[in-house]
Symmetry: C2
Subunit: 137 residues, 2 copies
DNA sequence: GTAACTGCAAAATATTTGCATCCTT
DNA sequence: AAGGATGCAAATATTTTGCAGTTAC
């Protein structure tokens, strides 16, 4: 069943090879992907620039979201149902393994609310835990 | 009182102009600084490469820590007492204002523990909240 | 004096932009 | 046919590395 097709259609995007392929990667991926991962997995079938533009489009449409990291490499991961255009609800925790370096979306672990100082209004929060993942111990 | 001097001394680093100046910036700064901020504030008095190396050294020594962001620009901020060499305890929440774009260390807000799935061993966690800061409402 | 630190040059990487061409609708 | 998407080339920006000269201790 062409899930990629539906996602693109629903967001008013043209159905193209590149978009379908990149979307497929995300659907298949366990965790999050960096720009470099995508280039690697598509085997240079698409121009580097196209990958940049596709990722940017997907983020704008709310199909994927960005995950903050401390190593100058933005990670991207599929949004779940609650993400909508222009308004992400990226409320699950991400785990980055220090050993295998994979990033895993812990969909079942929600980001806890924190009490902010007076005057701070939260709109979105993200949490990244580093450590050793299940596979690497 | 030469606080910069003490910090460098304590960490076994040579006292140099560049290090003192960059450290001073962090001590004065409200929030976190990006590499670009530092270059701007030092008015090109130091080589770009020196800034990179100084920041790297400070991170290694546990004087500053990196803050994850989603915009391909690592932010740095002074560590508090609990950071030690090679082992950061960056356990407070960071707030990024959608309006003024400043990043603020909420030193009093600690990152809550989350219950991870079986097999995942946490070593370090970071939390970033985006929204509107106190000054911008 | 010696080891550590810095600046310069240059290489390696990463990202953005403009434009002509091709594809989707 | 028209607008959007892609590829290519090139401009920018960012980060890393090597080495020679300088500085802190």
């Amino acid at each position: 069943m062409e899930q990629q097709f539906n996602i693109l259609k629903k967001n008013g995007l043209s159905i193209t090879e590149g978009r379908k392929k990149i979307l497929e990667l995300f659907l298949d991926a366990e965790g999050a992907l960096a720009h470099a991962d995508i280039e690697k997995h598509t085997d240079a079938a698409f121009d580097r620039v196209t990958v940049y533009r596709t990722l940017q489009t997907f983020v704008e449409k709310g199909i994927i979201h960005q995950i903050p990291t401390t190593d100058n490499a933005i990670l991207y991961a599929l949004c779940k149902d609650r993400c909508e255009e222009g308004h992400h609800h990226d409320e699950h925790v991400h785990f980055i393994c220090d050993n295998c370096n994979k990033t895993i979306c812990l969909d079942d672990v929600t980001v806890p609310d924190v009490k902010l100082p007076k005057g701070f209004q939260p709109l979105q929060s993200a949490m990244v835990v580093k450590g050793i993942c299940d596979d690497c111990r």
